[in-house]
Amino acid sequence: MDISQEENKIKTKNISENEKMEENDKEENMEEFPAIKFEGVSKIYKNDFVALSDISLEIKKNEFVSLVGHSGAGKSTFLKLIYAEETPTQGTVYFDGRPLNKISRRKLSFHRRKIGTVFQDFKLLPQKTVFENVSYALEVCGAPRKEISEDVPQILDIVGLGGEMEKYSHELSGGEQQKVVLARALIHKPLLIIADEPTGNLDPQSSIEIVELLLKINRIGTTVILATHNREIVNKAAKRVIVLENGKIICDDAKGKYKVC
C-alpha cells in the first residue's frame, strides 16, 4: 500500500519537474524546435587543440543523421557537446530549443534522461545483469516497479535478447552487448539517440543488425545521430550525411552516401 502510493508520488513529482523545465520556454510551440541546433560552436581543448570550429547546423526531430569523418575530425566532441559532457568554448548548443549552457549541474541528469547513448566500448555496468543494466536507466528516473517489470523484457525482446536477461555483460558477444546498450538507450523513450561508433568493435553481420535496429528506432519516431567511419553502414542507412574534417563541416548531404568531399 504505502510503497505504491510513494511510487505514484515520485512519478507525479518527476512529471512536474519535467514540466517545470519545459515551462522555461513555453512561449513557443514545441514542435517547431529542431532537436539539435548548433550556433557558431567552437570547441578548443586546453592544449589549444581545435576540435570544432564555428559549427552551425540544425538537426530536425525524427531525422537520421550519419556523422562521418576521420579519427580526430571532431565527431566525438560534437556528440559530447550534445549530451553536455563538454561545454563549447564559443557559441551555443540548443537541445529541443533549450540552450544547454544554462543547464545547472543538478539538472544535467534530467537532460541526459532525454538522450540515449550508444558507444563503441558499450559502457555497460559489469556488476549488473542484462536486465539490471536496462532497468537501471529506468530506476534512475524514479520509475515505478510495475513499469520496470513490464517495459524491460519488452524492450529486450525488441532487440532480440529476451532470453539473456539474467546474464552478465561479459557472458555476451560484442554484438549482443551493443544490443543491450541500445535497449538501455531506448528504455526511457528518449528524444534523441546518440551512437558514437557503435559498430567499431563489431563484426560486419552484427554491425548491420545494429544499424537496422537504429533505423527501426528512427522510423518509430526518435531522432538518431550516428557517428561512424564505416562506409557500408552509411550507405546502408542512406540518410543525411554530415562530413566533418578538422573540426569543420565540409559536406552536408540530405540523401547521402559515404564520400570524401
Partner: protein
C-alpha cells in the same frame, strides 16, 4: 522516498556481494584498523583499571593522642569529610587497631609476646582518609597540618608515604599521557587507512560511476548506494574487529593475570564490550560515510 531508499539499500547489498573481492579487501583492511583501535582502547581500559586499584590502595592515616575521646575524633572525622577533596574517612578505634595488628602478626611469636608483656593496648586510634584522586594527598596533608585539631594528632603517615605516593603519581601521569598519545597515533593511522581503502574501492569503480552519470542518474542516486556500502563496511568490520579482540582477550587474559594478580582481562573486556564495540562501530560507520562521500565527489563531476 521509500522507493529511493529501498533501491539504495538493495543496490548497496547487491554491490557489496557482487564486488566480492573488493569488499573482502576493504572489510579486512577496515577490520584490522578497527582491531588496532579496539586493542589500544582495551589496553587503556585495563591500565586505567590497574592505576585505579593502585590509587584505591593509597590513603593517609591520622593517629590521635591516646587521651583524645572517641566523640572528639568523630567530630574531627565529620570536619575532614566536609572537605571537597576527601572521598572517604574511616575510623579505626584502638581495639580495632589491636585486632588488626594481632591478625597481621599472628605468626610472629616475639611480637605477640611483647604485646602480652605490655599488658595494655599500645596502639592509637586513627582516621584513614581516602582522597578523590592521588594527587590530592599533599593538599589533605597540608590541611591536617593547619587544622584546629592538630594538637590532638600524634602523627600522620603521609611523610612516610610521601615518596611512594609522588612516585606513583608520576607513573600514573606518564602512563595516562603515553596511552593517550598511543591511542591518538593509532587512531590517526587507522582513520587514514580506512579513508584510503574506501577511496581505492571507489577508484576502481570510477568508470561505472561515469556510466551512471551518462545514463542520467542524479548524483544522489549514484552516491547513496556507495555511501551505504561504506556503512556496511563499517558495521561488518567493527563486528569482526570486536570478535578478534574477544579472542585476543581470551588468550591474553592468563598472561595478564599472571603478571598483575587480580586483573582479569577477559572480564574487563566483557564489562566494557559495549564501549569497545560502540567506539569501533561509530568510528567505522562514520569513517565509511565520510570517506566514501569525499572520494566519490571527484567522479561525479562528469
Amino acid at each position: 522516498m521509500f522507493l529511493i531508499l529501498g533501491r539504495t539499500i538493495k543496490e548497496s547489498f547487491i554491490n557489496f556481494w557482487r564486488n566480492g573481492w573488493l569488499s573482502v579487501v576493504a572489510v579486512s583492511n577496515l577490520t584490522l584498523s578497527l582491531y588496532v583501535v579496539g586493542f589500544v582502547l582495551t589496553i587503556l581500559i585495563v591500565t586505567n583499571g590497574i592505576l585505579k586499584s593502585f590509587e584505591d590502595r593509597m590513603n593517609i592515616s591520622v593517629y590521635f593522642q591516646s587521651d583524645v575521646a572517641e566523640e572528639k575524633i568523630m567530630e574531627i572525622k565529620k570536619e575532614i569529610e566536609s572537605q571537597e577533596k576527601v572521598a572517604l574517612v574511616e575510623y579505626i578505634s584502638k581495639d580495632k587497631a589491636l585486632e588488626e595488628f594481632k591478625k597481621n602478626n599472628a605468626n610472629e611469636p616475639a611480637i605477640m609476646n611483647s604485646l602480652n608483656i605490655i599488658g595494655e593496648n599500645p596502639l592509637l586510634a586513627s582516621l584513614v582518609i581516602k582522597a578523590d584522586s592521588s594527587i590530592q594527598y599533599e593538599k589533605i596533608s597540608d590541611y591536617i597540618g593547619k587544622a584546629s585539631f592538630r594538637e590532638s594528632v600524634v602523627r600522620t603517615n603521609y611523610s612516610k608515604n610521601k615518596e611512594i605516593i609522588s612516585k606513583l603519581n608520576g607513573i600514573i601521569f606518564k602512563v595516562k599521557k603515553s596511552g593517550l598519545a598511543l591511542a591518538t597515533i593509532f587512531g590517526f593511522i587507522s582513520a587514514i587507512n580506512i579513508f584510503n581503502t574506501v577511496r581505492i574501492a571507489i577508484y576502481t569503480r570510477r568508470q561505472e560511476i561515469g556510466v551512471m552519470r551518462l545514463v542520467g542518474a542524479s548524483n544522489m542516486f549514484i552516491r547513496l548506494p556507495i555511501v551505504f556500502e561504506g556503512v556496511f563496511y563499517g558495521i561488518v568490520a567493527s563486528v569482526l574487529g570486536t570478535m578478534f579482540l574477544f579472542f585476543t582477550a581470551k588468550f591474553g587474559s592468563p598472561f595478564i593475570s599472571s603478571m598483575i594478580p587480580g586483573e582479569n582481562l577477559l572480564d574487563v573486556f566483557k564489562n566494557n564490550l559495549n564501549i569497545i564495540l560502540g567506539v569501533q562501530m561509530v568510528a567505522g560507520v562514520f569513517l565509511g560515510i565520510f570517506s566514501s562521500w569525499i572520494a566519490i565527489r571527484k567522479y561525479l563531476k562528469v
